[in-house]
Symmetry: C2
Subunit: 332 residues, 2 copies
């Protein structure tokens, strides 16, 4: 037979559906005997509540949406893993929507969130998003939103990021400590706040160290392939750089590729430092010195904040900046 409903059980036991509901939910208004009778029959029939009806009645969906630019191999997997676990552990389910970095798709995804009555939204912005007005439909409905990683400065919602200036400072300082003064810099998509902040940090720290910033030693690239090409261009500049700073795993990989292509030895002939959650730096030998952040922690913290807002434990927008630390391996 089809999936049994609460009314089926009611009919079989000569009870009212409401009693069945209460019995299954351990409501005190039902006697222990009937409760067990109901629960046993439910068990026997393999009853599972129709979540669709529950959702309608309770006016919530149990869904949390993750709006993300796209799945990539470096930062995302650990972030996702953390988010899914946190969300699952709290009885919600995770639905994933990609924007493919287009604003248009991001707008559509916001509408979908609204239609599905998701109870919270985690957002890593599309690079095309230069402002946040398209999130108004959600905020108007008081749907909690938490931005993470790829964010824009704002004060309406919680956010989770890494201290971009600080993380850059650690990296550049470390290179300077080792005596490097001509440092190549590889940066990501210049539309992103994260890129702009790290680029700003890079220049600022150089200045603090009395090292002049040279345009020719810095470049922007959106993936490993472009990063590799830009790295080659930078290495062709004279006087030659002695070290690379790469602001992400993609770019680190591109830089190493370029270095290996020119058959330079790391770290004897050229040093390299990156910002990473520590997986990609392990690919190489010597392993790459990096400033480590934790994608897992970013995801977990974002999810925790969101759940806090949903449960109304967090009232005001919190802007969390996670710590990072230097992991010194052999590449500098």
């Amino acid at each position: 037979m089809n999936r049994p409903t609460i009314t089926d059980i009611a009919r079989l036991l000569q009870l009212n559906p409401s009693t069945i509901s209460r019995a299954l939910n351990n409501h005190p208004d039902v006697s222990p005997e009937t409760r067990t009778r109901v629960q046993e029959l439910a068990q026997e029939l393999g009853y599972a509540p129709n979540q669709l009806a529950v959702n309608l009645r309770k006016r919530h969906s149990g869904l949390i949406a993750l709006l993300v630019s796209e799945m990539n191999m470096f930062f995302n997997p650990s972030v996702f893993r953390a988010i899914e676990q946190e969300v699952y552990a709290n009885g919600y389910h995770l639905i994933i929507l990609q924007s493919n970095n287009t604003l248009n798709r991001e707008k559509q995804n916001v509408q979908i969130c609204r239609q599905l009555a998701v109870e919270g939204v985690l957002v890593s912005l599309a690079s095309e998003a230069q402002e946040l007005s398209h999130f108004a439909p959600l905020l108007d409905q008081k749907v909690p939103v938490v931005f993470f990683d790829r964010i824009l400065p704002q004060n309406h919602s919680c956010s989770v990021t890494i201290d971009d200036v600080e993380i850059t400072r650690l990296a550049v300082q470390h290179l300077a400590d080792k005596g490097h003064r001509r440092i190549g810099g590889l940066f990501g998509d210049p539309n992103l706040t994260i890129t702009r902040e790290r680029f700003r940090g890079f220049k600022q720290v150089l200045q603090e160290l009395d090292i002049p910033f040279e345009e020719k030693y810095a470049a922007f690239a959106e993936d490993s392939e472009q990063g590799s090409q830009q790295a080659l261009k930078i290495m062709a500049q004279q006087p030659a750089i002695t070290a690379f700073f790469a602001m992400s795993d993609e770019l680190m990989v591109g830089a190493v590729q370029a270095i290996e292509q020119k058959r330079l030895r790391i770290p004897e002939e050229i040093a390299i430092i990156g910002i990473s959650d520590g997986f990609a730096p392990e690919f190489y030998n010597p392993k790459i010195t990096h400033i480590r952040h934790s994608g897992y922690e970013v995801g977990a913290e974002a999810a925790r904040l969101l759940l806090g807002v949903i449960r109304e434990e967090i009232k005001d927008p919190l802007h969390v900046q996670l710590a990072c630390r230097l992991v010194e391996l052999g590449s500098v």
Copy 2:
């Protein structure tokens, strides 16, 4: 005010809710004038149907579930990307459930699928899953299921995989063509069919090539770190191997790490070939020769099959094996 409902519009226009519903759905039973009146007001109020109510009424959720062991950085991202796009393009939404490779969690996830009334399920099995009886609750309810990548042999549902023996044959044959006869083999989790098949293929192809299979040249490892250690052990065997075969990106990375640690040159002193979707092999110089499959294609095909079954265009279980090809770079 709160989200407007169909009854709000009905009240404002002095019409019956059913008429509003039909007007919005372009049902012919409503006159063009009322239809436009309704649609204009709906637009103005920013009406969006309450998906929860629609779902209950239509007895479906618009959700497709992706059951996966865990997010990792190599194979999964491109698979996910493909699945999300395909699913989205067909008006469904994707909900992700991790099993963390435990059978228990996989069982729970099946129950969640049932409760949420998902309309289709894509499964990459947990390594603990040695049989498929825990999917019975879904199959009993005629919920379409498609298995991909990490599967078990079965005949009830569609599946999408790669021809494991063939892919191994290409790799080993290529090494043999280059004159290698002592070949180290790195394999993944031995609980997985995919591992067993590739291991079987490895031995079979060696036999066909009249190369004796040596236990000491083969090892199993579950991640890059273990892979690296196993690779070191294999390289310590005498007579020394001249080439590595790695059945996955994780293991390829581990092998390269071990090789670099021993300061051997690729390919002059040791060759390496892998099975990959082509991203990780780009990290290195020389780039790693590999047999290329496409995670994206696996995901897309699995999603397409699932949608076909949902739409009842596909009646009988299809078992698709995707093609792969040799990508010759510098590492052999």
